[in-house]
């Protein structure tokens, strides 16, 4: 029995002592001189990687190095949509593995990540959209992934706030619907993985910035940090937004560009939207948080940006799309906006791969849609690092595909909206 187990009973017990006896969710150790595996990046993906390395692959000494605070990058800045209804087999299987992990994640981590399977709706606004929706939904079914196709009347019944009028500029013609999709509490995912990894002995070291990757004879030997050199024979980089910067330290050129991606929330409202709604053509995606805010994802800026902020005009276009789809939201007010840095690959698919340097692994390029993959990404990456071989689920997501041309082109299925 873990001493720090969370439950209604431990909550009641601690209430008696005025919550003075809760232990830290994770330790804050100083870095050891060496580890078996160093995970660079304390976002959801990195922490999940460390957790599965420890819990599943029984790797002994693991450190997660985070330059700021854990979960402070894209994990804490996204719109928390989880789904697996991808077109291509490679993506579908990877994201479905992740979705299955999501379904038991709160229990596995003993931390409520508030995974809410309220369904994800992808709207179609043109005949080609509807062809693509049938193609993707049909493929999802054959891959064992739930998917429905809804007509406008069915959409209206589920989302009364939506304008499904045929007179709209781009009328809603239909939608795919994945009932098992939904949203989760983003911060909790980072914290839950951190706490569970910590219980397995993983050292989570915040405010520790990697400044160099040490190598000898074509193999990795450790990392330089602002807190000294730390040795390791395996270094797993999961530093979304800064993958190129870290690649550069190892002399690797990457097929990656880092772009600003913005999101925004409204003031809290009583429940008015019970599913996640996504539209590529009328560009916007929206869900309602448990607190009542409309959580709205915007598009990426076309320029490279490491500034965690984007252009106001992107927000304007995005809000116009939301008001166009949901005219009753016009008088609702936008509370706050923010930006993240997303690594974008040419084929809008991630790299989860060994590199030309022995012992160096990269997990990057998730573009605008990495949150949903958090547990799955960690799970396959841990396998890849532990075995020095990719798992079947991530074999296609290698770096060589950019040379051979075996891209997994998800532009059609993933588009921009995640």
């Amino acid at each position: 029995m873990k001493k720090n187990r969370y439950s209604i009973f431990s909550l009641a017990r601690n209430a008696v002592s005025y919550h003075r006896d809760w232990r830290a969710a994770w330790r804050s150790p100083d870095p050891a001189p060496s580890y078996d595996v160093i995970v660079v990046g304390g976002g959801g993906h990195g922490l999940a990687t460390a957790y599965y390395l420890a819990a599943q692959h029984k790797v002994g000494r693991i450190a997660v190095l985070e330059k700021g605070w854990i979960g402070g990058g894209n994990t804490g800045r996204n719109t928390t949509i989880v789904r697996s209804n991808y077109l291509w087999d490679e993506s579908a299987h990877l994201y479905e593995k992740s979705l299955q992990l999501w379904e038991g994640l709160s229990q596995e981590l003993n931390f409520n990540v508030m995974f809410s399977q309220r369904g994800v709706m992808n709207l179609g606004h043109s005949l080609q959209d509807m062809r693509d929706i049938y193609r993707r939904s049909n493929a999802n079914r054959l891959n064992g992934i739930d998917s429905e196709i809804l007509n406008p009347a069915q959409i209206k019944a589920m989302v009364p706030a939506m304008n499904v009028s045929a007179n709209a500029r781009y009328p809603v013609l239909g939608a795919s619907f994945q009932e098992r999709g939904g949203v989760a509490r983003h911060d909790a995912v980072a914290w839950g993985f951190a706490r569970a990894a910590d219980e397995h002995g993983v050292d989570i070291i915040q405010n520790c910035e990697v400044t160099g990757i040490c190598r000898e004879n074509g193999a990795v030997t450790g990392v330089e940090t602002n807190r000294g050199t730390i040795k390791a024979s395996k270094v797993a980089v999961v530093a979304a937004g800064h993958s190129s910067v870290l690649g550069d330290m190892a002399g690797l050129r990457m097929p990656i560009e880092s772009h600003p991606l913005q999101a925004l929330v409204s003031e809290p409202l009583k429940p008015v939207l019970d599913t996640v709604v996504m539209s590529n053509a009328v560009h916007g995606y929206v869900s309602q948080s448990d607190k009542g805010e409309l959580v709205i994802g915007a598009g990426i800026d076309a320029y490279i940006g490491y500034g965690q902020r984007g252009s106001f005009s992107i927000i304007e276009g995005n809000v116009a799309a939301i008001v166009e789809l949901f005219p009753i939201f016009s008088r609702v007010r936008m509370l706050r906006q923010w930006g993240g840095i997303v690594d974008v690959c040419p084929d809008a698919c991630p790299i989860i791969s060994k590199t030309s340097l022995k012992g160096l692994y990269f997990n990057c390029g998730w573009g605008t849609g990495g949150f949903k993959a958090t547990p799955g990404s960690g799970w396959v990456f841990a396998h890849t690092v532990a075995h020095d071989e990719p798992h079947a689920l991530n074999a296609a997501f290698n770096m060589e595909r950019f040379t051979t041309g075996a891209l997994i082109d998800e532009h059609g299925a993933a588009g921009v909206a995640h």
């Binding site: 800064h242 190129s244 910067v245 050129r253 990457m254 097929p255 990656i256 560009e257 880092s258 800026d301 076309a302 320029y303 490279i304 940006g305 490491y306 500034g307 252009s311 106001f312 005009s313 040419p346 950019f402 040379t403 051979t404």
Partner: protein, 93 residues
């Protein structure tokens, strides 16, 4: 919201422009002579610089001319604007 100094039209709002990404990537003269790895490097790999970044912009809502910009990808401040075919200005030490 950048303001970009188009070399032909003067300072204009970012909304009038289109960003073309990294500048000075030269198309290989003889692609057939390249290995798959070399071709992939031209096709996909990018410097993705954090800091001063030379990039192409087009005044697509104006004169429709392409030109180069050196922009800091963290502060978004624009250090230089220069014509296609010109070399990037030397960094000030």
């Amino acid at each position: 919201m950048l303001q970009i100094d188009c070399p032909w039209c003067g300072p204009r709002d970012q909304d009038e422009f289109q960003c073309g990404g990294e500048a000075h990537i030269v198309r290989p003269a003889d692609p057939e002579a390249l290995s798959d790895v070399q071709w992939a490097d031209y096709l996909f790999n990018r410097a993705n610089t954090k800091g001063a970044h030379a990039e192409q912009w087009c005044h697509s809502g104006g004169c429709r001319r392409w030109f180069n910009v050196v922009r800091d990808t963290v502060s978004y401040q624009i250090a230089d604007v220069y014509l296609v075919g010109d070399s990037p200005p030397k960094e000030n030490p």
